[in-house]
Amino acid sequence: MTLPYPCQSSDHTVARRGFLGTMAATGAGAIVGGLGAFTQPVLADQLKHQQKRLVIWDMHGGLSQLESWDPKPGTETGGPFLSIPTSVPGIHVCELLPETAKQMHHLCLIRGVNTKEDDHGKGRYKVMTGRKQVPGASDPQIGAVAARTLMPEDYALPGHIVISPGGGGGRSNDASYLGPRYASVSLGGGKPPQNSALPDNITVEVDAARQEMRRRMNERFLTRRRTSIAEAYGHSYEQALQMMSQRDVFDVSKESTQDQERYGKHDLGRNALLARRLLEHGTPVVKVTHSNYDTHHENFNFHIEQLGEVDQAFSCFVADLADRGMLESTLIVVLSEFGRTPRVNYRYGRDHWSKAWSVVMAGCRIPRGATYGETNDKGTEVIDGEVDHANLFHTYLAAAGVDTTGSFNIEGREVPIADPASEPIHDILG
């Protein structure tokens, strides 16, 4: 006997059919439950080829837009750095990004971001969920939403990976109502997931036997008390086994020495190279965090340090994805919780500034070698092409082929994929 899910939802069953995106998404006729997020069934090979991926570079703490994507040299807010030309005539970036400047023809700079939230936590919530934080509510982060919509049902490994410079491993709670399957698995310090190696005192044969026993007991349990939670529990075991058998996917040392040199012998270099490796192995969603940019004091010294690493690793990453043809199917997003104040304080620092800052995208449907939006000459306000967190959230997903007018069916309740009061930046979705 198979008992229905308590929520009576078809969501859990349709999930098995796969949610692989295609290039052609439409806004009409979206089917509640997620299938409507994509429009055309395609063959498995094509799906594999066209499977969209999302990689987020999370510049934790508030990257200064003036020291990166929207420099204002020679103004009272511009700071000490110069701007430099890029591979796209007419587009300049800060001199701290000389290698990235050479990859500008792949990038799109969104320079008119106004998220109206200068608090770290609240700003991060807005940027990562596309929604304003409401007391008592919890929304899934972009990575979880992308995993939910982009991850093939039969994908064996964790589909949502966060690579951070330090910390431990384990699953995060960033998926909210989407459930733990879409929550991120952290690779703290770029190391493989915790406890993913077979203990020394257990042989492969012994392990196989005990897993078989677990499966039999699990099946027996499910025949009488089948619930989504129980199934997810079983799934997590199977995923863990797959992860153990493919542990090399998470091992950046398997990459060539040359690539390890190119990306840089620092945490971010290793983590960026690991991100490339994961994407090449089909991981749908990867987030690379770089910490930290909350530079209230000596902003310029610290941005030299941090962006030196970013420039090396990010430029290699973009160039490699382009060379491998992966930009067609991979959306790169560089974001932060906000930018930094145009005004330089007395400690050579910049404080929090959400009113006019920048996000970068590349790949999928995003135009290459472009800018969108503009700030005034001192960088204090957006004067053209203003967008907010909700617009960006829609755009990330839409660029990857997701119809963001669709909804998730969560235990019988329709929950919009993205804020229905907002919409993507249509001008940049090719």
Partner: protein, 339 residues
């Protein structure tokens, strides 16, 4: 002059002049003939103030970015600015409207520190390319290129003998160079002035100031330490006082006078005391002697201070401030003509 020096009394310090220009200042230097004080600031315009009356002359068109450092050639004929575009720029110090004599690309990245040799024939520069360079102060010819540091050069200083050059970096290494050969002679360990913050993953601190005592027996290196939160500037000022011969740290000068302080520059006074300028919760002049590690006197300035220079008379100090002002402080009791 002797009479002035005899009147030196840091405990009587008081501001006698303040002159405003357009942007927050990063550095000041008084010319060797004590005619002018030149300041560099958070823009590409330096300012020359006449010490006698504060008349300001703007010096523009020499560089881009911000001015960071200053030095003079012999008898102050040229004032040389160092800037964040990596250039060093020569200006005729005393001309009515100082024009650019030449501009040389000195470093890849910022020029962070400059110093002129005691006779003014050489200048040294240190920058973000981790290289120290020595230049002919008249012709601009490069004389030495000194490699060895593995982090940004935060301070350079000629030894008073003119034989050696000292350079201090972000990671707390001070290197002594032989100017005759360009070879490194030895290093001083000032790693207490460096913090690597594992949580924020940044290097912080550095040897921000160097000063050799008039008798040549003591080297002071200033900066900061105890930095649990570099991004918020939570740290304390620290000066390591080395025995020149043995290289041992014989004193660690600290203060509780200012929170979040950092020593930007040091100078030895004629009475043997050491003066430092710090920013933090306030701009402040701090004074130490060999009797205790804590400061024996502190003089709070009207605004955050980022640099200072001791006048050739030994009793006046020029300071560079965030509120766009250059201030002159006199280290004696107030007198009618103290301006």
């Amino acid at each position: 002059m002797t009479a002035l020096i005899d009147s030196l009394d840091p405990k009587q310090a008081h501001v006698v002049s303040e002159w405003k220009q357009d942007r927050p200042l990063n550095g000041v230097r008084i010319d060797p003939l004590a005619r002018y004080v030149v300041g560099v600031s958070e823009n590409a315009v330096a300012s020359r103030f006449q010490l006698s009356d504060g008349t300001r002359t703007a010096m523009a068109g020499g560089y881009q970015g911000w001015g960071r450092a200053l030095a003079y050639s012999t008898e102050g004929r040229y004032v040389i600015t160092g800037s964040t575009d990596g250039n060093i720029t020569w200006w005729e110090t005393a001309s009515e409207t100082p024009a650019v004599v030449r501009s040389v690309v000195a470093h890849k990245g910022w020029v962070r520190s400059m110093h002129n040799s005691p006779d003014g024939t050489l200048i040294a520069t240190g920058g973000n390319d981790n290289v120290v360079r020595v230049w002919d102060a008249e012709s601009g010819e490069r004389k030495h290129e000194l490699f060895g540091h593995d982090s940004h050069i935060y301070s350079v200083m000629f030894h008073s003998s003119g034989q050696w050059l000292l350079s201090g970096d972000l990671k707390g290494t001070i290197r002594q160079w032989d100017l005759a050969t360009g070879m490194e002679m030895r290093t001083f360990d000032a790693k207490k002035l460096h913090t690597y913050h594992g949580g924020q993953r940044v290097d912080y601190g550095g040897v921000r100031a160097l000063a050799l005592s008039p008798d040549g027996k003591t080297l002071a290196a200033g900066g900061l330490h105890e930095a649990p939160n570099p991004f918020a500037g939570v740290n304390k000022p620290l000066i390591l006082v080395f025995d020149w011969e043995t290289q041992e740290v014989k004193q660690e000068c600290t203060t509780d006078a200012v929170e979040r302080g950092v020593i930007w520059r040091l100078a030895w006074l004629a009475d043997g005391s050491l003066m430092g300028v710090s920013s933090g919760t306030a701009g402040i002049l701090l004074f130490w002697n060999s009797e205790k590690n804590g400061d024996f006197h502190r003089f709070k300035l009207p605004n955050q201070a980022r640099d200072m220079d001791l006048h050739p008379d030994g009793i006046h100090v020029a300071t560079a401030h965030h509120d766009n002002h250059v201030r002159i402080t006199r280290l004696t009791a107030k007198v009618k003509d103290s301006g």
